[in-house]
């Protein structure tokens, strides 16, 4: 039985990683068509770096992802602190309000955002994109950080206070270091959600702010090009680099959702 399970899990790993391996391999294919192999070449990487419009959409996606993830993480941190640590009146209502974007269909959110922005006379662009993405990433960032905060031993800040630490020192030296993995997890999750978003971006992007997913989606009409494989490979490498830097050990704790056991 154990061996069956072991083989099954290996199969699942193959299933999960095969597309990524294929992407990397095809990005090195010299041929213009994916079904034929014409030897190893870096030509698609060269074309990628010459494709100004594609790189601009990548930059837009990265900026929007980073800023909206930062915003969502910060707001999520504040709201989860309020909701976990203090018995705020109407706690359920606040929590519900934050989580609603998880339940409302994205297309409805997108349309209403566009209506609100155009009624308010805010031109669509970076600002609206970032606000829109923050709306959908905030619930994720809040949930991740709330989980970590509620599993935090409440006697720790008390002990710190007992030892003479003020509120700020307690936060800086005790609570925040314990929560750091969850904060990082919330940030990465928000970033990934924003980076891959299509629906909200469709409605909130404006002049000069086509995101990468919008560009790729639009390209389906004329056909996808192998430079997208090269771009995908670079993004995979970037992700790997981040994982290595953040540290495999830390990542394990992030996935477990608990506070760092230091």
């Amino acid at each position: 039985m154990d061996r069956v399970v072991a083989w099954f899990s290996r199969l699942i790993f193959v299933f999960l990683y095969l597309p990524i391996v294929a992407l990397v391999v095809y990005s090195l294919n010299a041929s213009e068509v994916s079904y034929r192999w014409e030897g190893v070449s870096l030509r698609w990487y060269v074309e990628l770096f010459a494709d100004r419009l594609l790189l601009e959409t990548l930059r837009t996606s990265l900026i929007v992802g980073l800023v909206s993830a930062l915003l969502a993480t910060a707001l999520g941190f504040l709201s989860s602190t309020a909701l976990v640590r203090f018995r705020v009146k109407g706690r359920g209502v606040f929590l519900g309000a934050i989580l609603i974007p998880l339940i409302v269909p994205e297309i409805v959110l997108g349309v209403s955002l566009l209506t609100v922005f155009s009624t308010a006379g805010i031109p669509t662009g970076f600002v609206t994109l970032i606000l829109g993405h923050t709306v959908i990433t905030l619930p994720l960032a809040t949930l991740v950080q709330m989980g970590a905060m509620s599993s935090l031993d409440p006697s720790l800040p008390e002990a710190a206070a007992d030892l003479g630490a003020g509120a700020w020192t307690t936060f800086r030296r005790v609570t925040f270091p314990l929560l750091r993995p969850a904060v990082l997890a919330a940030f990465l999750l928000s970033f990934a959600t924003s980076f891959g978003n299509i629906v909200i971006s469709t409605f909130t992007s404006g002049v000069g702010t086509t995101t990468l997913p919008l560009r790729i989606y639009s390209q389906l009409k004329s056909g996808l090009t192998p430079e997208l494989n090269a771009l995908g490979t670079l993004l995979v490498l970037l992700t790997l680099a981040i994982i290595l830097v953040v540290g495999v050990g830390q990542l394990r704790r992030i996935l477990a959702g608990g506070p760092a056991s230091q």
């Binding site: 566009l114 669509t124 996808l224 540290g247």
Partner: protein, 354 residues
């Protein structure tokens, strides 16, 4: 640990900036005509055209992409979009005119309008080119692999042929699939009659057991490798590559007709950069600029004078880019089905659910 996390973020930012070069292009700003904001299909305006325009006029261009005419229309209809030039498909032009989203083109400000091929002057979807200057065009037809079919294919009826069961693909797009469904029944692909659309739906329902699937992404690869024998296909880059790379692969317009599309440049009503917009129209009407559309994007140009300037003339003779003129005689322009859209949607739901 903190510094490591910071480093991770730093790496990301640095990579972002390094990858893209860091000139911050802000959102919309003041309306001087040193800027031009274009909203277009991706892949239909080669980089070389934009660079050339910027160099010649000193105007900075931003290009954004949409994934459907409907997305583009809803963006403009919301108001305040900030775009100066949009690139609607033929059927979207009358819809946008009706909604008062496009500015009338002042022909006296145009230079080179007579370079356009006759087919695109005074087209059915925009009388007298009042609101649109056609730029790129293409067809919806059939891509097939003769090694697999064993005989030349002539029309839609071959996509209903039992012989190719499990080797047939239709486009995964409602109106595109109906082109085949309607024309194989001898009907107009743009019919708005309920009874006609019902017949088309029935044809698609009958065809479904023969299909390998609906596919709009990689059908050209599938036909080229012989995994599919025959597929409903759009002309353009993917089909053209398949035709050029494999002598057995052919692209034809079906004898029942097939359809024609064209994407045009239009000026957005209320644009702040009108003079730049006209400069763009005039620049893209030049034959040597229009030829770049075929050179760099493998798309057919509407500019007759551009054809002889295309560097690789095999592209001009490739039917998957420039469909031969005589096969276009029966081809219809796809138009907006208006209220009949509901009949198509209802039928399409039944087809996909069966």
């Amino acid at each position: 640990m903190k510094s490591k996390a910071l480093a991770a973020v730093g790496v990301t930012v640095a990579a972002a900036l390094a990858l893209t070069g860091c000139s911050a292009a802000g959102g919309s700003s003041s309306g001087d005509s040193t800027k031009l904001h274009i909203y277009a299909w991706s892949g239909e305006i080669p980089d070389s055209v934009i660079k050339g325009f910027e160099k010649e006029t000193g105007i900075t261009v931003t290009v954004d992409n949409f994934d459907s005419n409907e997305t583009m229309i809803s963006k403009l209809a919301a108001g305040n979009s900030g775009y100066d030039i949009v690139e609607p498909s033929q059927y979207a032009v009358p819809l946008m005119v009706e909604r008062d989203l496009l500015a009338k083109v002042d022909k006296s400000k145009l230079d080179g309008f007579d370079n356009l091929a006759e087919k695109f002057v005074d087209p059915s979807f925009d009388p007298d080119n009042g609101y649109s200057i056609p730029w790129a065009w293409g067809t919806t037809g059939i891509l097939y692999n003769e090694a697999c079919t064993g005989a030349p294919v002539t029309g839609w009826k071959d996509l209903w042929n039992e012989k190719y069961k499990g080797k047939i693909y239709m486009l995964d797009n409602m109106l595109s699939a109906y082109i085949g469904g309607m024309q194989v029944e001898g009907l107009s692909a743009t019919s708005t009659k309920k009874a006609d659309i019902e017949k088309g739906t029935q044809a698609l329902l009958d065809q479904k057991p023969l299909l390998a699937g609906y596919n709009s992404d990689n059908y050209a690869d599938l036909v080229a490798t012989g995994d599919a024998c025959i597929a409903e296909a759009y002309s353009g880059t993917s089909s053209a590559k398949a035709v050029a790379a494999n002598p057995d692969v052919h692209y034809i317009l079906p004898e029942e007709g097939g359809t024609l599309w064209t994407d045009s440049f239009s000026i957005v009503k209320g644009t702040a950069n009108e003079s730049a917009a006209y400069k763009w129209l005039n620049y893209t009407l030049q034959p040597e600029v229009a030829a770049l559309l075929t050179d760099d994007a493998s798309l057919a140009s509407t500019n007759q004078a551009a054809l002889e300037l295309v560097k690789d003339q095999t592209q001009v003779t490739n039917p998957a880019i420039y469909a031969p003129a005589d096969s276009l005689d029966n081809a219809e322009f796809i138009v907006d089905p208006g209220k009949a859209l509901a009949y198509y949607q209802d039928g399409w739901t039944r087809v996909r659910a069966s």
